[in-house]
Structure formats: structure tokens, C-alpha cells
Amino acid sequence: MNEGPNPTNELENPDSYQFLRDGASTVSFSGQTERIGMATELVDAMVNFESTEEQLLEMYSNQTASGADANPFSDASLNSSTKSVKSKVAASNDLFSTNSVESAEIKEALESMIKAQVSEVFPNQNELASLGVAGQIADGSSVRYVNASGLEYNQAVNKSLIGALMVDQMLNNYLSTSVLDEGSNIEDNNNGIIADGEVYTNMEHKWDEAFGYLFGAPGADYTDPLNTLGGGAFLNKYLARVEGDEDFKGIANEIFEALKLGRTAIVTKDYDLRDEQADIVIDRISEVIGVRAVYYLQQGKIALANGTLGTAFHDLSEGYGFVFSLRFVKNSNTDAAIFSKSEVDSFINLLTAGNGFWDIDSATLDQISNDIAAKFDFTVEQAGS
């Protein structure tokens, strides 16, 4: 215990994310690591032109179309897992427990992009993309594969999963009091009653699962994750990107410190402190999604003005995924989602209207950017560069 003059924080925040009970680590988030691994294989397979629709859908749901066990992954441990990406897409307690209609719609939106990659883009592998025609387009010396509207489905799915899987689970599920305090969690945690056959209390584990979606990629050193920040894919990578923007420097440390202190607070049974830390994580992770959405829309706008269409389409495809992800971000003050379904739908409609990216204009991109930034404490200028 820190007995120094620190009135708001009487706990000592450990240097690393390591928590022990009787000498054994109580930190566990293997399910998150598996899902990140599955999502990684899925988005990679979307640009392997040998992939079939069946394989991709099996990677999404880790079962066959008829519900039997499937082995779609190259990593055998993922095949033996009973978990899947799809089951945790738009599946948080707070947002979707009584909103299975929207949950199913979001799961289906991702699934239809996965299918369309095979049915629309794969057949045009060796065509040049043009207005209304799927195919290749150059982004610098890189090759991008887009649909008839200029959208890269693989990028859209990749970035949409950051919101629909990772952020939703993290903010609207595991960091929510509805999950942390579920059932007898508080009483068990107060009395050191551990979960059946485990070394952790349920509450500790829930918190770790939130942590795992950010810092628990396969092979990552989670105890001191800022050292390798950006080395992982998905949320981890884009936290690194936002951290790399001078306007937001320090955000990664703020999130890591809050996750550590919140976990420490669970150990010491200080639930107010825990919730304060959860609020910090909720607001900062939400900010990461907002910043990246605006960033890519603005970068896309610049690339369009420069006449580099392929670069613009790539930016806008990433932007599409981050805009999609906005549905899952949360404001800790209101304890509610920042964007409604209809708001996000209207952004997506603006991006895809008509011939999609082929005829989108800078005014539309600015309009969406402004609408997004207005909900956060940053400006379009700060996020856009």
C-alpha cells in the first residue's frame, strides 16, 4: 500500500499487468487470444484467391453451414477451439441482450461482405477496376481489390471487426457493471471465492477478458504491452496509430494504466475505483475509433483531390470499417452508446450511395467527419492528419 499523500489513489498501481494468487498467475484471456487469431486468419484468407466461400464462412463461425464442427484454420489450436468470431459479433450484454434483431443484422452484414468477396471480387481478379466494375486498382505500387463501388471488402471486414467484436465486447460487455457484478461476482470477489477449477474470481476474469481484446493477441507479451504496441492487429494496431499522432500522445499509456489499476482495484475490492478506471478505458477506446474513422475519411478526401483513386479507395475502405465500428463506442458519462443505429446507417449510406467511392465528393466526407467529431472532444483537423 502506498501511504504517501495520494488522496484519490491509495493503491499502488503495479508496473506490469501481473496478478498472482498463491504464487500462480490469475490473468487469463485465452478466448480473446483465440478470437483475435481466428479473425486474423479470416481477413488474410479474404485476399487469398484460392479461398472458397465455404472456407471463409467456416472461419467466421468455426463450424460448417449445417452446424457441424469445422477445421478451417491453419493453426490447429484454433480448430480445436469451441469459440468463434461470429458468436461474439454484436453480442455484448449492454447493447444486444435485448436487441437480437440488430445483432443478427450486424452479423449478417459482415457475412454478406465475406460472401461478396468471393462472388464479386474473386472472379475479377485479373480485371482493372472501373466505375461499376470490380477488380484491381493500384495504391502506390500496392494492388487493392475492390468491388464495383470501390470498396475493399477485406478492409471493411477487418476494421468492422474492431468495433463489432473487440470494442463491443470490451466496452459494452466486460467493462460493464452488468457483467462485472453479475450474479454473485461481488460477494465471491469479496470472499476470494474462485471460479470452478480456476485460480481467478469471475470478476477478475471478466476484466482480463476486456484487457485481452486489446493486448492479448497470439504471442503478445501482455505483462508489459506498451513495448510491443502496434505489433498486433486490430484494436492494438490502431491504438498505436492514434498514439503516434501528436494530438493524442499518451492515450496508450492512459489506457494501460487504467486497465492495470482497475484490475488492482478488483483485487483490493475497491469497486468505485474499478469503475472509474473502466470509464477511462471506455472513453479512450471510443476515442480511438472516432479518431480513426475521421482520419481515414479525411485521408481519402486528400487522396481523391490528388487524383490517386486507389489510395483514396483504400483509405475509404478502412474508413468504412471504422464508421461501422462507431455503433459500438460508448460514453462513460451517459453510460450509453454514442451513435445510434440510424446515425451509423446514414453514414454508411452516404459512403455507399450511387457508385460508392467512384463518385463520392469531399463535401460528403467532410460532413460525415464533422458529424463524428462533434460527438467527441477532438476536431476533424486533429484527427485527420
Binding site: 485479373n126 484491381q136 486498382i137 493500384a138 502506390g140 505500387s141 494492388v143 486507389g310 483504400h314 478502412e318
Partner: protein
């Protein structure tokens, strides 16, 4: 300085309002330097002559390839290879001018993306159903693909000659050479056809003005294609691991330094305004910076500092192997030292120079995914 400029601007503006002169004419640049003269010098004394020279070398390459395919003798093979090296070297002198038609068609992408993809080249040769206009074929065409075909398609010259004269390979090599010719001719025709005047007359100071654009193209080239691709990537600066097989001219082996030097000295000549035609000094970025220094009454000679960085790079270069691959394998510290000197100039160019010239960077670091 800024305040003074604002003051003068207000006076000029006030004056302009009482006059029929268009406002643009009484709003000069902050300095008295003539961007138009510099653009004219760049177009007439550097860019157009360099393209003309490059295409003339491509014509020689075409002739020598025709001679070789007609009579695949050893002398004809050697001439073919020599003319290939010559054209590849001349390419280094135009690569940085990716503006206008070159930018529109993506000339550099179709000319010099390496490492080349040997499997894709072989697959294109075998099925003979290839579309070189596809971005996915950037890595199967241009000089790096020719490098493989002329130097890497066999263990010795005899085997290579044999391979080249098989019908499918011949077709592919000819298609690659024709494409280099067609694309660069399209670019030069555009310069000669009207783009030159458009380029020179677009002499303002804005993101779309010729000076701002070409300076950005120059910096982009210097940073990505000279500093990173030719030196930094093989030396492992970005990945942490040396990547000797990513040198330019991997198969021809002993020309990577030559190609680098051609690009490096062209970059220096562009900055210092050295005429491609006769080596005389003309209106340049260097002069521009010197004039701004004078106007600002500053002690900081940005141009000299940039040239000093380059001089240091040249000194390191003296001891570097003609074969960058061997240099990386045997003593990579020297390659890293070369990179460091090149990098020092990036800072001077991108920060000090651009600030002085009031030019915004129009490219960002690629996302990497």
C-alpha cells in the same frame, strides 16, 4: 517578416481594389524569386532532355534486343545486356519526375518495382495470357523483370541465351521492352505537346502549383525510392533484418551502386540546378533558398547544409562495394552509415527547406496495410 508581408499585402490589396488589375498580379510571392524561371529551367534544361535521353537509350535497347533475337550470338548478347544497363541507368535520371502524364499513368510502378516476382514472370511466360496493364503485374515487368530474364534465368550465359530464345520468353521480353518504350514515349510526348507550357505557367504557390508539386515529387522520390528502396531496405533499417536480396538489380549483381549513384547525382543536380544538357548551373532550389536567406537576413544557409549532408554521403559511398548486396552481407555498417547521411538530408529538405519555401508535404507515411 510575416507582419511586414501582411502590411505590404494590405497596401497592395488596397491599391489593387482601386484598379482593374486582377488581384493575383499584385499579390506576388513573399520573395522576389521567379518560380517561373525555375520551372522553365527544370522543364527545358533537365526534365525534357533527361526523358529524351532515356527514350533514346530505350530505342538502343530495342535495337539491340532485335539484333540479339535475330542472331543470338555472344557479342549480340553482351550488347543487349549493356544497352539494358545503360537504359536502366538513364531511367534513374527521370524517375523522380513523376508528374503530369507520368503520374497519371503511374510510370514508375510499371518501370521499376523490385523485388520482382520470378514466379509470376514464369507463370506469365508459360500461359502467355498476361495483361501488363494490371497493377498485380507491376512486379512482373519493367527493368527488374528484365534483370531476371537477362541475368538470372540460368546459371551461366549459355543457359540464359538458350532460355531467352525460346519463343514464349522472347515474346515476353519484347513485350516488356515495348511497354517501357510506349509508356515513356507517352510521357515525353505529353511534355512536348503542351504540358511543358502548362507546367511552366502554373508558377504560383499553392498545393497544386508546379513548384509545390514537383518539390513534393522530388522529396517523395528521395525518401522512398533513393534512401529507402535502394539503401535502407536492403540494409535492414526498417525491418531490423538485413534484406540483401532486395537490392536494385539483384540478378545483374554488380550494378546496384551504379544505379544508386545515377539517381543520387540526379537528385543533387535537380536541387542545385545543373543542366542535363551542358552541366551549367541555372535557376534552382538552391538559389531559391539562398535568396530567401538573404531576404530574411538569416545566418542559416539551408542549401549549404543540404549539400554538406550529401557531401558526407558521397564520402561514405567511396568505400562501398559496387554490389550493394555484397556490401550488406559483408559489412552492413557501411550501408547503414550511407543511409544515415541520406537521412540527415531528409530532415533538412523536408523541414527546413519546405518551411522556407512555404510548401506543404502532400504525401504521408503509408499505413503499411
Amino acid at each position: 517578416m510575416k507582419k511586414l508581408f501582411l502590411f505590404i499585402s494590405i497596401i497592395l490589396f488596397t491599391f489593387a481594389c482601386g484598379d482593374d488589375d486582377p488581384i493575383t498580379e499584385v499579390f506576388p510571392n513573399e520573395d522576389s524569386f521567379s518560380r517561373a524561371e525555375m520551372l522553365e529551367f527544370w522543364a527545358d534544361e533537365i526534365i525534357i532532355p533527361a526523358y529524351t535521353n532515356y527514350i533514346s537509350d530505350l530505342d538502343i535497347l530495342k535495337e539491340s534486343s532485335t539484333a540479339f533475337f535475330t542472331d543470338p550470338s555472344e557479342p549480340n548478347f553482351n550488347t543487349f545486356r549493356d544497352s539494358y544497363i545503360l537504359a536502366y541507368t538513364s531511367w534513374q535520371q527521370v524517375s523522380m519526375f513523376e508528374i503530369g502524364k507520368a503520374e497519371e499513368i503511374g510510370l514508375r510502378n510499371f518501370t521499376n518495382i523490385y523485388p520482382t516476382n520470378v514466379d509470376l514472370i514464369e507463370s506469365n511466360i508459360n500461359n502467355q495470357n498476361f495483361d501488363l496493364a494490371l497493377p498485380s503485374n507491376f512486379v512482373a515487368q519493367g527493368f527488374p523483370a528484365l534483370d531476371y530474364l537477362l541475368f538470372g534465368k540460368g546459371d551461366d550465359d549459355e543457359v540464359i541465351v538458350q532460355a531467352l530464345t525460346s519463343a514464349n520468353v522472347t515474346t515476353y521480353v519484347e513485350a516488356l521492352i515495348d511497354r517501357l518504350n510506349d509508356l515513356s514515349t507517352e510521357v515525353l510526348d505529353d511534355w512536348n505537346g503542351g504540358f511543358r507550357d502548362e507546367f511552366v505557367s502554373n508558377d504560383g504557390s499553392s498545393a497544386t502549383a508546379s513548384t509545390d508539386k514537383l518539390v513534393n515529387d522530388f522529396l517523395f522520390y528521395y525518401e522512398r525510392f533513393l534512401r529507402a528502396a535502394k539503401v535502407g531496405i536492403p540494409a535492414g533499417v526498417f525491418s531490423g533484418n538485413t534484406e540483401p536480396d532486395r537490392v536494385e538489380g539483384l540478378f545483374s549483381d554488380i550494378y546496384s551502386k551504379l544505379f544508386f549513384e545515377a539517381g543520387f547525382s540526379s537528385a543533387q543536380d535537380f536541387f542545385n540546378g545543373i543542366s542535363f544538357i551542358d552541366g551549367r548551373e541555372g535557376v534552382s532550389l538552391k538559389q531559391y533558398l539562398e535568396e530567401i536567406q538573404l531576404t530574411n537576413n538569416s545566418d542559416f544557409d539551408i542549401a549549404a547544409s543540404i549539400n554538406d549532408n550529401w557531401q558526407s554521403a558521397e564520402l561514405v559511398l567511396i568505400d562501398i562495394n559496387a554490389n550493394f548486396r555484397n556490401q550488406v552481407l559483408e559489412d552492413n555498417a557501411e550501408m547503414l552509415a550511407l543511409y544515415d547521411e541520406l537521412q540527415k538530408a531528409v530532415v533538412s529538405l523536408k523541414v527546413d527547406m519546405l518551411q522556407a519555401l512555404n510548401i506543404q508535404v502532400d504525401f504521408v507515411d503509408a499505413d503499411g496495410d
